[in-house]
Symmetry: C2
Subunit: 574 residues, 2 copies
């Protein structure tokens, strides 16, 4: 109710949108960053004439499209909100796409709550919007002063918000959020301001128009329907003639035949480097591919893409939440974003990835420097929880290549995957073991070495250790099969369930939620489950050389061979 | 090298610290938020006379305490840094403790990089420091203008930073970071400024003093030792007489005999409510216990603690990164912080939790509103990845109570746990099934119902569904054992490995990394592994009534009973 006047004026004269063609690239975009204002969101759809009164009455009921917080099950909702502080960073991604990719004059409007201005992610967005001069972006801040359990830090101190926004390089306008003329003037000013984004800081009343709750604490999220409608003048079923956008087609980038990188078997290349090579080649072949990085592109090798396709490369600086949010915003407009940073630092954006899945977003994430094998930089830089993190995202794909040619194939596959996909890359140079003509289907695995006594299942850096262990074991008369589980999710359950021999799993990751548990889950329910020994990082690592750290963690060839021996011995005595 | 002058002036005259007694509550605190400045951190320890030249030479070697980024394996390091943007929010926690808990005049100094000012978490810290008038906090911003791969967004635009800080209510001072007198004056001003924190925005040169790299791009994280030392005047082994702090003892809060809440068997209470009741009682008994919440204390019920112990309750608003960081800062000073928000929103702070484990921090986290059982609010508010998330934290404890009396016992146990502990609570009222005298040791489980044909393992909301399923099965002649796995990590492997019957696991969580996989991991390596059917949430949930959603997700009594029947049938035909 606090934002109703702001939204009504927007809809009636400024928001240019074809409700019959919600996917039109010419449409303005409207995000309710304060997703708990869902009754207003759905009210706008009523006003636009696209939602029946009957469906409106299904709010929050099982099976309804009108969920407690808006999601894209409705065609006019681009992204799910409800975790505060995400709408504006996503809006930055859309506005960046509008200016630099689509090159269309659509505007992005984001209705923000004042409570959520405490989220750092909002200020990442505000800084980036200014840096990229996103004058096509307008933030409408609904300062109703009341959060869920009381007053916000700043109450109705509008000038606090305005000063901060101004210091960030925004055009900040203070208005009475229930004064239609002031709102109208502010929207006009936003539309005519160039070179910088505009924020409309609006003083509003929570529960505006219903005297029983207006400006009262203690009513957050509580239903108040009938009586309020009566006081507000009854059901009116107003239909607004929402202005349509000018037709326009998004810019298309030139493409060329792809020149996929290949690496010679026996040579050495880091998978992170192959990621950069592959992404650059993909960018040449597919003009929809864009890349973003969190100020570490010389480590993730996204810089190779950046050099070859500077118009489609976005530096997001050390702001991982904005990095992922921008990718989510860009994919709404049909772009294929690949976002990269150290895998450890993607944990900074976990809530954004979680919400991206609820948004049914298709984004591609690459996390480099996985595991203890990074060496000297120490545990703060080592991702040891990322497989668990990304497996536990709805509908995700988790890929973990071990060599350069495999990385290229997996990056190519990622381009066409739906949903959230995650590629885990390794810092160190590793030997190329696959020819460039091998195929690596998503959901598959590779039996790299045949054997009958014991199976070793690894991926990435540990696959090479597994191969070395198998050599050692062969010399002792133990025949070890080595399986490359490059697709951790979806997993090749069929191959794993057919093994009929003891299994060693080995991963450069904590024991929880990683490759080992993925294997155990794939085996669950078998009539006879093989014995499984799970090798993983159990103690907090320190700095050191990669081989010292793999050894100390008990996940190198020596420890794999010992675990395999033990299983073979136990089987013999059983 | 860019921050060396800033650090030297601090050490020589302003930082009050007893290096022989690093745990002294009277000490000032110094955090290098830019943890990659570790050579400078260790250089200060050399200068303070507590680190030998020999050990200094072990930098980044295996087994050395001098890791690539500082960690608390050194007694003079309070918290690990290296994931940017965390030192200042942690410093806010320390400064809050200094003013409101310890009530001692120590100061908190945080050396920040300019690159990390892009992290939203820095601005959460800046806003909170101002709101709480932390004049005992000084941020020293080393503006060397160069990030890892090039220039930052703002280069040497010191006034950009100063304006933003000023707009946030800070005292911002611009200095030449290599001019000793300007630095000295700024520190004096910081010490004498009251009512607001001070930021010293210092223009510096990356690689200062070594002409080959000074102010040059492309040298981030690269070793340059001998030649640089020569140009800088050779090894000098200066020992600085660091000023000692005034002696002082931290404030102690009054305690009383604990009046632990109890609930009658058969009554109904939400575990989130029991959390609030228990925490308030714990706060009465233990004056070191403090509580923090992310503006949802009327939902997590941390508000009960807040009302009974207002001096030890901290409202962190909608800023989950700051919420967790403040807890980390407070525990450095010996407080026992419990931080709460919706479990879904703790994912916002995942990187902070990850780093807290590397900091060897002891913090207690409570995530409410877990799973689809929250009902109408929809998927954005449902934690479905939190068990995976927290299991994959080094040394963590993951607890998931199903009734009020159990919750009380687990909260009491958390108070004495080391490391990161996480309590998952449920929105809905659930029946009290345990007496208030039952004990629930960490790492244990409860066999709530005996049975021989099949075991059902659940926790939290699903335990009640499991009990209902067991009733149904009994009527059909199937004897189902029901196990309450309230301690998901550490797990009661002994009980699970002794089951010798098929198992149904059931969790209000995604299938990955949760309770089911924890059970599978506990069973791995058994000679004969029982068949396990894992029930978990597989499709993206929508809004609806809790029972509709538990049913739709296939984790209610009906689906549990069917999975158990199936296993019993298969066993009979095997």
């Amino acid at each position: 109710m606090s934002a109703a006047d702001l939204a009504a004026v927007l809809l009636a004269g400024h928001f240019r949108y074809d409700y019959d063609d919600p996917k039109s690239p010419a449409n303005d975009r409207l995000i309710f960053s304060k997703g708990h204002a869902s009754p207003l969101v759905y009210g706008l759809f009523r006003a636009a004439g696209v939602l029946s009164e009957e469906e409106f009455g299904t709010y929050r009921l099982f099976g309804s499209r009108l969920e407690g917080h808006p999601t894209p099950v409705l065609p006019w909702v681009d992204v799910a909100t409800g975790s505060l502080g995400q709408g504006l960073p996503i809006g930055v991604g859309m506005a960046l796409a509008g200016k630099q990719l689509d090159r269309l004059p659509f505007r992005v409007w984001v209705i923000c709550g004042d409570s959520e201005m405490a989220e750092g992610s909002m200020w990442e967005a505000i800084e980036h919007a200014s840096f990229y001069e996103l004058d096509n972006l307008t933030a409408i801040i609904d300062v109703n002063r009341l959060g869920q359990r009381g007053e916000t830090m700043h109450g109705w101190n509008l000038s606090y918000f305005a000063r901060r926004l101004d210091a960030c390089g925004w055009n900040a306008i203070e208005v009475d959020g229930h004064d239609v003329e002031q709102i109208e003037a502010a929207y006009e000013e936003a539309e005519s301001t160039t070179g910088k984004p505009t924020a409309i800081v609006a003083k509003t009343l929570k529960g505006k128009g219903y005297s029983k709750v207006e400006n009262q604490d203690g009513w957050h999220g509580k239903a108040i329907a009938e009586e309020a409608i009566e006081e507000l003048g009854g059901v009116r079923n107003i239909v607004v003639d929402v202005p349509k956008p000018q037709a326009g087609k998004p810019h298309e980038f030139e493409t060329a035949d792809a020149d996929w990188p290949t690496y010679e078997i026996g040579s050495k290349i880091a998978t992170r480097r192959a990621y950069g090579d592959a992404l650059a080649a993909l960018g040449a072949a597919d003009g929809k591919v864009v890349a973003l990085d969190g100020e570490v592109s010389n480590s993730t090798y996204a810089e190779i893409f950046g050099k070859e396709h500077p118009e489609r490369f976005f530096e997001m600086f050390i702001a991982e939440q904005q990095l992922v949010a921008a990718a989510v915003g860009m994919q709404v407009l049909g772009w294929k974003p690949f976002a990269s940073t150290f895998a450890a630092f993607l944990s900074r954006a976990y809530d954004f990835v979680r919400m991206a899945a609820i948004s049914r977003a298709t984004i591609k994430l690459c996390g480099s420097h996985a595991g203890v094998s990074i060496g000297e930089d120490g545990p703060s830089q080592m991702a040891l929880e990322d497989i668990a993190e990304f497996r536990a995202i709805h509908g995700s794909t988790v890929l973990y290549p071990s060599d350069g040619n495999q990385t290229v194939k997996l990056v190519r596959a990622m381009a066409d995957l739906d949903g959230i996909s995650f590629l885990r890359t390794t810092r160190a140079d590793t030997p190329v073991i696959y020819g460039s003509d091998e195929e690596f289907p998503i959901g598959g695995s590779k039996t790299v070495r045949e054997g009958d006594d014991v199976a070793i299942v690894g991926a990435g850096i540990t696959l090479h250790e597994a191969l070395e262990a198998a050599e050692t074991l062969e010399a002792e008369g133990i025949s070890a099969r080595v399986i490359d589980l490059y697709s951790v999710k979806p997993i090749d359950a069929e191959t794993l369930r057919g093994l009929q021999m003891p299994i060693v799993t080995v991963e450069d990751h904590w024991p929880e939620g990683g490759l080992g548990e993925a294997v155990l889950a794939a085996l669950a329910g078998l009539e006879e489950t093989p014995r499984v020994t799970k090798l993983a990082v159990r103690d907090l690592p320190h700095s050191g050389k990669p081989d010292q750290l793999l050894n100390a963690a008990g996940i190198d060839a020596e420890h794999i061979a010992e675990a395999a021996r033990q299983l073979v011995r136990e089987r013999a005595t059983a």
